[in-house]
């Protein structure tokens, strides 16, 4: 079939460079299908062909984004960072499901038995531990099957640990905060876990330069429950860890730990080998 008009050179060049809108591409290709002269004018370099094929292959091979990656992407997190975070053990579906189940159980128990102080106390004691457990299980040889491989890459150490730790902290605090809103009773009391959670979370980060996150988490959690036990058994006040004076203490600890963690951020490298000459 012959045709009486031909594609302008500029349009042909833009088509070859992949810079046309889809509607224009369809129009140009419809013309190319019946015009040998214009077909011959389209650059047909090996490099161009390879690039085009690569674009097609990438669309076929590109892994689908996981739910967590899609959420992070919506929040403005770059694609490659979202992929890094999707591998975090304590951001896995099983871990998040367990966390959600624990919180849902606490909320349902409190709603079924309103006025029961035991349920509220259990929630307040366990809630600060959840972010700590998440961070402790986010990075390290004992929790991450790919640790040895990633330890030999430039991203390993403080960059990856902090990236994962901050994300896990945010997710755990967000979920626990959501559960708090559903808790019956005064919001002020049921939110009394927040400052101890922040203090414990930052304490874990501060200790991670010297101890593994798992060990640091175990030390802090033991200390937290130990202090609660002392309040109950010796001082005879189960809610003492959540009194205003105690909250001021957690606030002070949080304010003191924040700059410390920031200043030591390059040294927060759990599992990073320590050369004796350093």
């Amino acid at each position: 079939m012959s045709t009486t008009w031909h594609l302008p050179d500029e349009l042909t060049q833009r088509y070859a460079a992949g810079r046309l809108a889809p509607a224009q591409v369809m129009s140009v290709e419809a013309h190319l299908a019946r015009c040998g002269r214009c077909r011959a004018a389209v650059p047909y370099e090996q490099e161009w062909l390879a690039e085009s094929w690569e674009r097609v292959a990438d669309v076929v091979d590109r892994p689908a984004l996981r739910l967590s990656e899609r959420i992070l992407h919506r929040l403005g997190v770059p694609e490659h960072v979202a992929r890094l975070l999707s591998a975090t053990p304590s951001l896995s579906r099983a871990w998040l499901a367990a966390l959600t189940a624990v919180l849902a159980f606490a909320v349902v128990s409190a709603r079924l038995a309103p006025g029961q102080e035991d349920v509220l106390l259990a929630f307040l004691l366990v809630a600060p531990v959840l972010p700590v457990a998440g961070v402790a299980a986010a990075y390290g040889r004992h929790v991450d099957p790919v640790h040895e491989t990633q330890a030999a890459t430039p991203m390993s150490g403080p960059r990856l640990f902090l990236l994962r730790a901050v994300t896990v902290l945010a997710v755990a605090l967000g979920l626990t905060g959501g559960a708090t809103l559903l808790f019956p009773g005064p919001l002020g009391l049921s939110a009394a876990w927040l400052l101890p959670a922040l203090a414990l979370g930052l304490g874990l980060l501060a200790l991670s330069g010297r101890l593994s996150p798992l060990l640091a988490g175990a030390v802090l959690v033991t200390g937290w429950f130990g202090a609660a036990l002392v309040c109950h058994a010796v001082l005879h006040d189960r809610f003492l860890p959540f009194h205003p004076a105690a909250q001021a203490l957690y606030g002070a600890a949080t304010l003191a730990l924040l700059p410390l963690v920031y200043l030591r951020r390059r040294r927060l490298a759990p599992g990073e080998p320590r050369w004796t000459r350093l």
Partner: protein, 290 residues
């Protein structure tokens, strides 16, 4: 033994590592240059510990490493070295719920290849190198042991490393895959420094220009594969009857006996192989072997 290395890219001096009372690396010295070097040694010889120190995932208690002109004891230089390093650990872990493509993609991000198009191109390249391109969308948990090993090798090749450290890379590979692996590694060794540990003396004979033997945490031989075979020169015999002494011997496929050590009655000299030199080296005092 021939310890001369042209264009040294990796130098290890008096490297020592202890776990409690056990000394796993005992003042080990080593020089590597471009090309493929095989690391041989029995279990517990210190091979994996040495490789982990070179791969910067383990710090020695004493001694020095210079790799590609960089000192891993210094944090900034360690990160710089990691940018130029490919490492296949002895026990590479995987995220079983990831696909082959996703896992390689993940390691590529860890190697700071952040541009998606460039990264995916690199992932496809390494998967093709290890013949896993058609498994890109397969979940890691569904791969066979050999395929997992090839995936582990693929991640080590990402970002075109100048120094490749491979800890027992041929474990789990069938004979055909092993042949492909040898072709791939020998090609890589044309322009890079490759150090691979293995229990297979055939691998060393087939693709290594140099060989290092470790025993008891020390380097007991450093030289060419021919030099390692020459350790057994004049001490390998073929006979119809087994030796009467305590020499090491085994029955060969043709029903005769291959003896290492003193000449057995009726023994005829045989051409020594790498394996003969290696076995004699491990059974002999270090001074005698050197």
């Amino acid at each position: 033994m021939d310890t001369t290395v042209e264009n040294t890219t990796v130098a290890v001096r008096a490297l020592t590592k202890r776990y409690g009372r056990a000394t796993v690396l005992d003042r080990a010295d080593l020089d590597l240059g471009p090309g493929v070097t095989g690391l041989l040694g029995p279990n517990g010889a210190g091979k994996t510990t040495l490789l982990r120190c070179l791969a910067t995932t383990l710090a020695p208690d004493d001694g020095e490493i210079r790799a590609l002109g960089l000192d891993p004891a210094r944090r900034e230089q360690r990160t710089a070295l990691r940018r130029r390093l490919g490492y296949l650990p002895q026990d590479p872990g995987f995220y079983p719920h990831f696909t082959v493509f996703e896992l390689a993609d993940y390691v590529a991000i860890l190697k700071e290849v952040t541009d998606r198009a460039e990264r995916h191109r690199e992932v496809r390249r390494v998967l093709a190198e290890v013949d896993l391109a058609d498994r890109a969308r397969t979940k890691v948990r569904k791969l066979s042991g050999g395929m997992r090993q090839r995936l582990a090798l693929a991640q080590a090749l990402l970002a075109d490393p100048e120094l490749l450290i491979l800890d027992e890379p041929t474990v789990g590979l069938d004979p055909e895959q092993r042949m492909r692996f040898r072709a791939l590694v020998s090609r890589l060794g044309e322009s890079r420094t490759v150090l691979l540990s293995t229990h297979q003396t055939e691998d060393v004979a087939a693709l290594c220009e140099r060989v290092v033997v470790m025993n008891g945490g020390r380097v007991v031989f450093e030289g060419t594969p021919g030099g390692l075979a020459a350790v057994a020169a004049g001490r390998v015999w073929i006979s119809d009857a087994p030796p009467s002494g305590s020499e090491l011997f085994w029955r060969t496929a043709d029903g005769r006996y291959r003896t290492l050590g003193e000449r057995p009655p009726g023994g005829a000299p045989a051409v020594p192989a790498i394996e003969d030199g290696y076995l004699l080296l491990l059974g002999a005092p270090v001074e005698a072997a050197a």
